[in-house]
Structures are given as structure tokens and as C-alpha cells.
């Protein structure tokens, strides 16, 4: 009896927390279809805000900017970070400790400090704020995530695979491409994805390192939320929510499929 009761309680608790997480988003989505500009009174259904969103040049341009910057920055960060991880892995303990601690700095430091420190750098060296500064800043804050993802894979790797490849007649470059890269690929991919998503999502650091010409989507959203009433923001949130939901569902289904396959394999082997 008490067991049933506690189960009921825990389900109710779970429901309430998820309600807290999702209610604001659902209200936001609901009002993106509201006819009037009011954010609390429902006056009828419309798609107008979506139409005006797609005709909003600021939004479209900043979306394109965001994607270009994220693509360039995350590819650069992945190459730089993977090479760095391999080098760091071969360092002696002392040097490795120093480099890793400095690498952790941008991760641990509050974003606003990273933002203003980069802003000071660009002012100091008189680099004009725009695409260049944004891309440099985005590479800087995403490289650590690539390194932190690749390092564990390098450590797990069998050292002798590379040497075996050399013994079998590969030149160092080929041995590296054929033996090392495939082993650490999962780390590289997750590092890249992390760099890409952080870059798309970043507001604070971009806010301090962007110029009037190059705006990213989060900065455009910020300027929209400053104007008190703009249901276009609701429409934009809805679209982003659906895109993210679709991506997560796809990834999740793939994972679930993989897990199922694994279970089957194990089950099949056990049966034999």
C-alpha cells in the first residue's frame, strides 16, 4: 500500500517538474498563433506572425550569419582541437598539466569574462568588430570542448596499433590516418557537434565581439525581445522548438535502435 502511494507521489512530482519546464514554452507556442498582439488574451487563430517572420530581413540575414559562423568556427575548432589533443597526449606530465589547466579556463570562466577579455584583445590590437572577430571568438570558446572530447579516446587507444601500422610499412601520415583517426573518430564527431551547437546558441560572447554589420541570430532575438510586443519572437521560438525536437527524436530513435540491436546480439549469443 505504501509502495503504491509513494509511486503515485513520485509520478506526480515528476509530472510537476516537467510541467514547470514545458508550460512556458507551450504558452509561447500557443500565442504565436494569436491574432492580436496581446500576449494573454486569445482573439483567434492566424499564421500572420510566421509570414511576417519570413519577410523579416534582419532575422533571415542573422540566421544565415549564424550558420556560416558556426560552420567555419566548428570545423576550424575541430581541426585545431584534434591536433592539439594528439600533441598534448604526448607531453610529459608537467607540461600536460599546465596546458590542460589553461584549456579548462574558458570552460570554467564565466562567459561574460571570456566575452569582455576577447573584446579587450580586439580593441587592443585594433581589429574591426565583425565577422572576423566573431569567428575568432567562436573558435576560441569551442576548441576546449573538442579537446575534452578527443582526449579520453586517445587515452583509451592502444598505443601499439600505430606502431604496428608503421611496422607493416605505412608511412607516418598514412599510419595516422588509417590507425589513429578511426579510433578517435567518435570523440572528434561529438567534439564537432558540441562546438557547432555552442556556436549557434552563443549569445554572451557574441554580444561583446560582434559589430553592427555582423549579427547572429541570438543577438537579433535579443534586440527583438527589447521591443515589448513582438509575436514574431513566439513564431521563431515555435520553429526552433520543432527543429530541435525533430533532431533529438531522430538521434534518440537511432540510439534506441542500436540498443535494441545490441540486446538482440547478446541474447542471440547467450541462446547459443
Amino acid at each position: 500500500m505504501t509502495n503504491k502511494k509513494s509511486k503515485w507521489c513520485s509520478n506526480l512530482y515528476t509530472f510537476l517538474v516537467y510541467l514547470f519546464l514545458y508550460a512556458p514554452i507551450f504558452v509561447l507556442i500557443a500565442f504565436s498563433f494569436n491574432k492580436s498582439k496581446s500576449r494573454s488574451v486569445w482573439t483567434g487563430f492566424t499564421f500572420d506572425w510566421y509570414k511576417s517572420l519570413f519577410h523579416n530581413e534582419l532575422i533571415i540575414n542573422s540566421l544565415i550569419n549564424t550558420l556560416i559562423i558556426a560552420a567555419v568556427a566548428s570545423v576550424a575548432a575541430t581541426v585545431l582541437g584534434t591536433a592539439a589533443a594528439i600533441g598534448i597526449n604526448n607531453m610529459n606530465k608537467w607540461l600536460k598539466g599546465v596546458v590542460m589547466n589553461v584549456t579548462y579556463l574558458p570552460v570554467i570562466n564565466p562567459e561574460i569574462v571570456t566575452g569582455v577579455s576577447l573584446m579587450l584583445l580586439f580593441i587592443f590590437f585594433r581589429i574591426e568588430f565583425g565577422y572576423t572577430t566573431l569567428i575568432l571568438a567562436h573558435i576560441s570558446f569551442s576548441v576546449p570542448y573538442v579537446i575534452l572530447n578527443v582526449m579520453p579516446k586517445l587515452r583509451q587507444m592502444d598505443k601499439f596499433v600505430y606502431e604496428a601500422a608503421l611496422d607493416l610499412g605505412c608511412n607516418p601520415f598514412k599510419a595516422f590516418m588509417k590507425a589513429v583517426i578511426p579510433e578517435i573518430m567518435p570523440g572528434i564527431i561529438s567534439g564537432f557537434l558540441m562546438a557547432f551547437t555552442y556556436s549557434i546558441d552563443d549569445f554572451v560572447i557574441s554580444y561583446f565581439t560582434s559589430g553592427p554589420q555582423a549579427q547572429t541570430l541570438p543577438i537579433a532575438i535579443y534586440s527583438m525581445t527589447r521591443r515589448k510586443v513582438s509575436p514574431e519572437v513566439n513564431a521563431l521560438s515555435t520553429i526552433i522548438f520543432i527543429v530541435v525536437l525533430a533532431i533529438l527524436l531522430l538521434v534518440n530513435l537511432k540510439d534506441a535502435g542500436k540498443a535494441k540491436l545490441n540486446r538482440k546480439k547478446i541474447g542471440g549469443e547467450a541462446a547459443r
Partner: protein, 271 residues
């Protein structure tokens, strides 16, 4: 493979984009606008001690609320079947993937004077309550934005707590409260410290949430810094000094927190 040279480009990058900028923050903090040495900036930060205390207080409250909400949830989730867990954790992560500006904007519309919440209260003849532009609204915004950062590390540490340990404690005659304080909490300590850091650091350095939900009267350290760099009160020297104080403050809090964490293995802690 044995060569360290491949990391040279990164070492250069790290020096230019991590070490030098932080050095510049320190340099600006200790100089006047003419480049002369001074400690006036640092002592000027003292004038804003009210803002500092307010920020520390609000972020501590938000962190504690996150911990209190997330802890039972993480435990409940960790006892579900694998498939249910995967879906539930995905649902925790989903709001994280929406930009925090949109999530905060959602609360702005809910809390305002003729917002949805006041409309609902109105149905019962209550209100309207003044909810936006209060310290409570800022705390709410921080809790909402950073709750997943607390749930995820707690959940992953609680997955490792074996049901048998809990059963053993029960079999040995421990009351539910004792089981909790003597078995579950100590075993989940690394998750608690990670979660607390991941909520506290962004909370104390936030500047947009306080502006959107707190109006002008609930300034936080982040707002103060932003004003010195991009606002009307342009003064990068003072801004750098405040940033330096913020970094020291966070380092202090983290070293206090590390006292609770016997585990020295910090690698991969953030990710």
C-alpha cells in the same frame, strides 16, 4: 604520433586568445585610461558592494532551489527502465537547446501585469499580483534556465548507486531518513558539487536574465560589467576590475565547494 609539434598551432592560439586576453583584463584593471598603474579601479568596486552581495545572494537562492527540485527528480528518474530514462532525459535536455533568451522571454510574457498567470489568478478573483521586476522573478528565471544543469549530473551519478546498497541499509535497520542521509547523499556527492558549480557560475555572472525579468532595480554583477563596456558608463578599466573580482569570487566559491568533494579526478567534470 610521438610528436608534440602538432599541438603548436593550438598552443599559439591558446596564448593569443586565452592567456593574453585575461592578462589584458588584469592590465586594464590596474591601470588608468592613460595606462598608469593604479588600484583606484579595484577600490571603486567597493562602491558596488550592494550589487555584489545582491548577486551572490540571488544566485545562492537559485542554486539551492535547483538542487531541492532536481535531487528527488534525478533519483526518481534513475530508478526507471532504460527506455523511459532515455526519453525523460531527452525531455530535460530539449528546453536547454532553445536559446536562453527565448526561455526568459517566455517568462517575461507569463509574469507581466496582464500576463497569463495574472489572468488565471483573475479567474479566481485574485490579483493582479506584481510579479515581474522583482528579485523573485530573477531567481525564477535563473532556476528555469539552469535546472537541467543540475538534473543531468545528479542523474548520471545516481545511475551508479546500486539498489542493493539501499536495500542493504534498509535490511540493517536504517530508517528511510537514515538511508537517505547515510547512503544516498554521500554516494551522490560528486554529482551535487558538479551540479552546484554548473548552476552557480552562470547564475552569478548572468546579465540578461536580470535585465529582462528584474527591471532596472535588480542589477547583478554581469549587468555592471556590461554597462562599463557597452553601456553609457563606458569605462573598461572599471569593467575589468569588476570582472577580476567576479573571477576571484567564483574561484573562492569553487574551492569551498571542492572541500566537499574528496574525489580529485576532475577530468571531464564539466562535460
Amino acid at each position: 604520433m610521438k610528436s608534440r609539434a602538432v599541438s603548436l598551432p593550438y598552443m599559439l592560439w591558446m596564448i593569443i586568445f586565452t592567456v593574453i586576453p585575461l592578462g589584458l583584463v588584469a592590465y586594464f584593471a590596474f591601470t588608468t585610461s592613460d595606462g598608469e598603474f593604479t588600484i583606484a579601479n579595484i577600490s571603486q568596486v567597493g562602491q558596488y558592494s550592494g550589487v555584489l552581495v545582491h548577486s551572490v545572494w540571488l544566485s545562492i537562492v537559485a542554486t539551492v532551489i535547483c538542487l531541492v527540485i532536481a535531487y528527488p527528480l534525478a533519483f526518481i528518474l534513475s530508478r526507471k527502465t532504460e527506455n523511459v530514462q532515455r526519453t525523460m532525459i531527452m525531455l530535460v535536455m530539449l528546453p536547454m537547446w532553445m536559446n536562453f533568451l527565448l526561455r526568459t522571454y517566455a517568462w517575461m510574457t507569463l509574469l507581466e501585469k496582464n500576463g497569463v498567470i495574472n489572468k488565471i489568478f483573475g479567474l479566481f478573483g485574485l490579483g493582479p499580483f506584481n510579479m515581474i521586476n522583482t528579485p523573485g522573478a530573477v531567481v525564477l528565471g535563473m532556476v528555469y534556465n539552469y535546472l537541467p544543469f543540475m538534473i543531468l549530473p545528479l542523474h548520471s551519478i545516481m545511475l551508479k548507486i546500486d539498489d542493493k546498497v539501499i536495500e542493504a541499509a534498509q535490511d540493517l535497520g536504517a530508517s528511510p531518513i537514515k538511508v537517505f542521509t547515510k547512503a544516498v547523499i554521500p554516494l551522490s556527492m560528486p554529482g551535487i558539487t558538479t551540479g552546484v558549480t554548473m548552476v552557480f557560475v552562470p547564475a552569478i555572472s548572468t546579465f540578461i536574465i536580470s535585465r529582462m525579468l528584474g527591471g532596472g532595480s535588480n542589477m547583478m554583477i554581469g549587468d555592471l560589467i556590461e554597462l562599463q563596456f557597452l553601456g553609457n558608463a563606458y569605462n573598461p578599466n572599471l569593467g575589468s576590475a569588476i570582472s577580476l573580482v567576479l573571477m576571484v569570487l567564483i574561484l573562492l566559491c569553487m574551492s569551498v565547494l571542492n572541500q566537499f568533494d574528496a574525489d580529485d579526478d576532475r577530468e571531464g567534470m564539466i562535460v
